[in-house]
Amino acid sequence: MENKKWRVVCYINQFFGQIGGEEMAHVGFSVKPEAVGPGLLFQKLLQDECEVVGTIICGDNYFAENTEGAVAEGVALAAELKPDLLIAGPAFNAGRYGISCGNMAAAVGKELNIPTVTGMYPENPAVDLFRKDTYIVETGILSSQLRKVAPVMADIGLRLLRQEPIGSAAKEGYIKRDIILNEEQPENAAHRAIEMVLNKIKGEPFVSELLPPHFDEVEPAPAVKDLSKIKLALVTDGGLIPEANPDHLKPNGSTTWGHYDWDELLADKHFVIHSGYDGTWVLENPNRLFPVDVLREYEAAGEIGVLEPEVYVACGNCASVSGSKAKGEQIAQALLEKEIDAVILTST
């Protein structure tokens, strides 16, 4: 049976493109209609089902100095080659090369809607920027590891082309893409727990399925010296929102937040969207979530300067750490723009 082969395009830098070393890092894009450098190895690994139809080469500095323009240029060149798969690098621990491989893999994947794969050392700064957008196969520091890592990259690329499932990060050797999935185990959780606690008691080795994280230490801001001069705002993760839910908060895993005038919020229909606690008490008296009643007394007495009339509401149920950080940064920015001096954060 004569099958049409999938078209593979490789992206490499000037060094692997055999143009030159650091002295040639300024050169712009060029395209070779064949496999070059590491592409020769990919061609060999994939020869039964794929053909490397072109290699896009770009100097490290050229890419780094105008990343946005370089990405557009690179994607356009890739599009002309009509690829089914893009293989970038591997970049190992090279910083600028990692950035260009990550950018090319992410942008080509998104723009041309094709699978992409690259390879990097876990501490390459590009890893954190692009690991969610492509498959970054874990490599060693040095390019002498190419023969070890290329088969892993080729295999993932081929299975992406065949639309076959790709297993977990640890099993397949790529860097975590921030997707958590469940896998059925030979033993249920009860049996696994009994074995683990027995091993702990006996002092025998065991592998924990999770470990407590080391969270960032947040330095408390210095205390407010004179409350009578400040503008104070209220922020919560308690999910008290207008019934129309204009900011599309979700009962759990919510990534959005809203700000609402307190009196309007209470005058119109409102409810607690947070599905992690019973909102009965908050609905009975919303001051339990936001102590507006007491703060207004303080405001009237001149003990605090101004209470911001809008409250800031997020829904904290089942939120990821990164999602919460993003929401926190957005809310902090909005508070800064309103020249808020201090906030009270209430949780549920």
């Binding site: 999935l181 959780a189 049996h191 696994r192 727990a193 683990m196 019973d278 909102g279 609905l283």
Partner: protein, 434 residues
């Protein structure tokens, strides 16, 4: 306290003119179960169906699955729930009819903040123990304006009465196997393992209704209780709320208690069971965790403890605190917890932050998502019911009805699929980074 559980195997489930058990087939006369509704003022009638493995059937609004069981001797059925007579459960002989389940559904989607569902065929059914056995699906139809509290407790009574009825129907047949659970004799020379079982959190109470879970009593702010392991297996703990990733079936066959009992005196000493509830305030949590650890050490003399939780983040903090306090007293602790979201990585999403808790079993992420195909038969709700995927929701009776039609293609999650994720270790999943 010794509990003997004798079993018979049910090979098939059918409706018939007379409720009887013949050659492995259980025949049910619907009227026998319909009669239970007459005793429940808030039910007009019951909808009763049979769902079989492989059927193109989706069951929604599921709040519980129950195994048919009845007392043969030595005690009463569900003390405090089916009767006002109180006896301490967990002794004598119990008959269990294996191989089928009774699935309880609440036909009003909006009464519970949490309900589950499952399909009898397809991707999820392959890994779901409940989809692998015939199910008697019971769905009470309530009068307009019925109170959800009455409804829930009525549904529980009907489910448990049905469980007793079916098990009693098998009593004419000799048991196929018997097993005695007994940890009265302690073996101090063996590694001694206790179980700390968090059964409930009031954070999920709907409209301040406290679920009566311990012999029919609510224990919202309870301090740790010591309970005999056989009590748990034999009717001391009963669910009465929405679906929270544990079923009565799982409690009746509690995988931690059963396995510790089976190994008791062989390579393990089963020290005993502590019952706790989720603390919703830090002060309560500090006391519960220190008290639990102290009881584990001074009363149960445990070398190690397995700690399980109810649904949610606050519950996880509490089991983390118990595990950490136990470790401080030299007791090796292993909590079973879950990941509360799916778009992140395991390095940052463990909600236990005490660094001395270094052995954790993770029974999955709540949000491993599925897309499930349309089905021919929908049970548990009206034909036009909406499927609330978990992104959508119903909170405290407040409708946000943005779900897809439940009979069509729906989005679901691992935690919503009854049978896929068990808080008490019945399930096989583990969370993995992709």
């Amino acid at each position: 306290m010794k509990l003997t559980v004798e079993t018979v195997q049910i090979k098939d489930l059918q409706f018939g003119e007379k409720t009887r058990f013949e050659e492995g087939v259980l025949y049910i006369n619907k009227q026998d179960i319909l009669d239970f509704a007459k005793e429940e003022p808030c039910f007009e009638t019951l909808k009763i169906d049979i769902a079989r493995p492989g059927d193109s059937t989706r069951i929604i609004n599921v709040v519980d699955v129950v195994e048919p069981r009845c007392k043969v001797s030595g005690n009463i059925d569900w003390p405090g729930v089916l009767s006002d007579d109180y006896e301490i459960a967990g002794s004598g002989v119990t008959r269990a009819a294996k191989g089928m389940g009774i699935t309880l559904c609440q036909n009003n989607t909006y009464w519970s903040r949490k309900w589950g569902s499952y399909d009898m065929s397809g991707e999820c059914a392959k890994i779901n123990p409940y989809a692998k056995m015939p199910q008697l699906v019971i769905e009470p139809m309530a009068e307009e304006g019925a109170d959800f509290r009455d409804y829930r407790e009525g549904l529980r009574r009907v489910g448990y009465k049905t469980s007793v009825l079916i098990a009693k129907t098998t009593l004419g047949v000799a048991p196929e196997s018997t097993e005695t659970f007994d940890n009265e004799t302690q073996y101090p020379d063996l590694p001694s393992i206790a179980y700390s079982y968090q059964i409930y959190s009031k954070q999920y109470d709907t409209q301040n209704y406290r679920e009566p879970m311990v012999y029919g009593n609510a224990i919202p702010d309870s301090l740790p209780l010591i309970m005999r392991p056989t009590e748990v297996l034999d009717g001391a703990i009963s669910l009465c709320g929405g679906f929270r990733c544990v079923t009565t079936y799982e409690i009746q066959n509690h995988p931690i208690i059963v396995e510790l009992m089976r190994r008791h005196g062989k390579d393990i000493n089963f020290a005993g069971v502590l019952i706790t509830v989720t603390s919703v305030e830090a002060k309560h949590r500090y006391l519960v965790s220190k008290m639990a650890a102290n009881l584990l050490k001074e009363e149960l003399h445990a070398d190690g403890v397995i700690v399980t939780k109810g649904v949610g983040g606050a519950s996880t903090l509490c089991v983390g605190a118990i595990a950490s306090e136990a470790e401080k007293l030299g007791i090796k602790a292993v909590p079973i917890i879950q990941i509360l979201n799916g778009k992140s990585n395991l390095d940052v999403e463990c909600l236990i932050s005490e660094q001395n808790v270094d052995g954790i079993v993770c029974s999955g992420t709540y949000y491993h998502n599925f897309t499930l195909p349309p089905v021919e038969t929908l049970l548990g709700g009206p034909e036009d019911a909406l499927y609330l995927s978990g992104d959508d929701g119903v909170i405290g009776g407040h409708k946000i009805a943005t779900g897809d039609p439940a009979k069509g293609q729906v989005r679901s999650t691992y935690m919503k699929q009854v049978g896929l994720m068990s808080q008490i270790g019945f399930s096989y999943g583990m969370a993995v980074d992709y």
